[in-house]
Symmetry: C2
Subunit: 192 residues, 2 copies
């Protein structure tokens, strides 16, 4: 038995909540489920969070904070537009579909369960992520590698990629690498 610092209990709640929210949805998970899975009593999550929705927001924010650095590095790299886009898609698929990556799926599934206030708070981080995509898509566009207006293009592209969360089954059919390749091939066309 390792000695676990008290500060980690909060993070543990967030991590367990992410898993349960991802599996059963926000409304399909009770704060009691979370408490039990973490080894607490039913009321104890509320020592760490003001409300169930605050836990949800924390899950989403942790997912975004964890995913942003990789995406930022890719966006700031000197890769040519098509390769950069491919790397971004690949990194995003990992965040959405990778083993133990339950945070962003929760954001995609249960965004609407956030109160307006919490939604606005999480949106700040989300905007940064969306902007990175927009930048990379704009580079594609500027290089003549993408038809369609870039604002709607970004939404359609992110839709295609995010929607994988609803159909992808690990170890069945294409793997993440293949899906990334197919998506890029279909959207961007063959080479520059």
């Amino acid at each position: 038995m390792a000695i676990v610092p008290v500060e980690n209990r909060r993070a543990e709640v967030v991590r367990v909540a992410a898993r349960l929210f991802c599996e059963r949805g926000f409304d399909g998970t009770t704060t009691r489920d979370i408490a039990e899975a973490v080894g607490m009593r039913s009321g104890s999550p509320f020592y760490h969070f003001k409300s169930k929705q605050e836990i949800l927001a924390a899950v989403m924010e942790e997912g975004l904070v964890a995913g942003l650095p990789a995406a930022e590095t890719i966006a700031a790299s000197v890769l040519p537009p098509r390769a950069k886009f491919r790397a971004l898609v690949r990194a995003h698929l990992e965040i959405v579909l990778g083993e133990g990556h339950d945070f962003i799926p929760v954001l995609l599934y249960d965004w609407r369960r956030l109160t307006p206030e919490l939604r606005a708070r999480v949106q700040v981080l989300r905007d940064r992520y969306d902007q990175l995509w927009q930048d990379v898509v704009n580079e594609l566009s500027a290089a003549g590698l993408l038809k369609s207006d870039s604002a709607v293009a970004r939404l359609l592209l992110m839709g295609a990629v995010n929607y994988t969360v609803l159909w992808y089954k690990p170890g069945q059919g294409s793997d993440l690498e293949q899906i990334a390749e197919e998506a890029v091939a279909m959207f961007v066309g063959p080479e520059a």
Copy 2:
């Protein structure tokens, strides 16, 4: 006051439930909300449906039954592949985003809330819809107008189109016609 046949009360429950589920989500809507909006007492929806989830399944099935004929007509038409795909996308956007079309968004939002039994039941209709898309996508592929394997291609394409339900705002930005055009332009490339 028109005289309303008793049989229409059930349909009324489904229609009202579709609107409320679409606005607030399945878990965010109580059977009491539905009853009140339809002008019944709180227990009366259960005269028409065995459970709340049966109402949800009915909403989804009505959406699919309403949408299938148009999609079938398009798939069976003699349009060239690109035009056929464009027509399918356009029809689908109408079903997903059109005014008063709350049924398919509910399917997209709350598919996971169905019990396994009900999910299997609704899946039968959903499979028919997916197959139509697959046929049209395969035609595109056969005509050399689409890169990427067609099974994954269909999922990515439907993802892009279905995801519009999360960002489209009527009367703000592109309209359905424009979105359809941009989607086709981006995915299929310029002309055959």
